[in-house]
Symmetry: C2
DNA sequence: GTGAGTGCAAAGGTTTTGCACCGGT
DNA sequence: ACCGGTGCAAAACCTTTGCACTCAC
């Protein structure tokens, strides 16, 4: 259960567990696998804490990112989206449906040979992000 | 020479060749392999047409993107960068040095097997973008 | 009680848009 | 001369910041 681990992290970090932060964290925990914008988190969090403001949402999301509890990724339109990190390793790989805009995850794997090649060239890889634009199976079927 | 091809495209598109557009296009042609922000294009273009405004730069860049003469890619910080398209095929693959911020190109190739796999899953791939964050060989050497 | 955290509103940064004027065809 | 293109300034958008007030510890 990742929740236990997150709670431990929070406790260890002198991080005050306010209503607002709990609401944001719960929203993210209730939306595993979703890639939410700050605005979307705000709307969902307001169901729990009606007066929560967008600034608090941003501040909380940023804090959780720096604690590596969330990932933050830049998507088209120049907007950031946040997702909860449920695994140890990064898996910054997304398939974005060009029709319904749904976002699917891809497992990291096939980039290893590319990275090895680049390391032989003298680069030291820190991270990578892959975005694939596609019709998802459903939209492909409806497209005709 | 790609310039000839671009000129043909422009002619075929009823695209008025104003001083400003020529300046923007020339800036991009003089900076093959560079990934420029609109602001950077503006500064360079003003050396040619001092009064050119940022709105014209954006409008021209967008138009050239829609003509597939330029590529537009979102980079960290939520800023778009534009680069001239010198090849037939897309090659949206970048290595960004986390130290000097220089951007290197990677040839497309090793993603084919991943794409085949996804197509078997029912996706129809439209495009993809890969960003790799790394220390470039020079910064890696200086890092120590 | 104290200081970190909050909400609001204002500011920041990038990109877009409205509008009167300009200039390529 | 026409109409698309331009420059300016304002607006739009997302995100960050300043500040007085609040509340978790």
């Amino acid at each position: 259960m990742p929740n236990k681990k997150i709670d431990e992290q929070l406790e260890a970090s002198h991080y005050r567990l306010t209503q607002q932060r709990k609401a944001v964290l719960d929203v993210m925990r209730e939306n595993i696998g979703c890639h939410l914008t700050a605005e979307e988190v705000l709307v969902k969090a307001r169901h729990k804490v009606p007066n929560i403001g967008i600034a608090t949402v941003y501040r909380t999301l940023e804090r959780l990112v720096s604690m590596q509890i969330l990932y933050k990724t830049l998507f088209d339109g120049g907007k950031y989206r946040y997702e909860i990190s449920i695994q140890e390793d990064h898996q910054h790989h997304h398939i974005i449906c060009v029709s319904c805009n749904k976002i699917f995850e891809v497992e990291e794997s096939l980039l290893n040979s590319l990275e090895h090649y680049l390391e032989q060239q003298g680069f030291e890889i820190v991270d990578h992000q892959l975005k694939i634009y596609a019709y998802c199976p459903q939209c492909k079927a409806e497209k005709v």
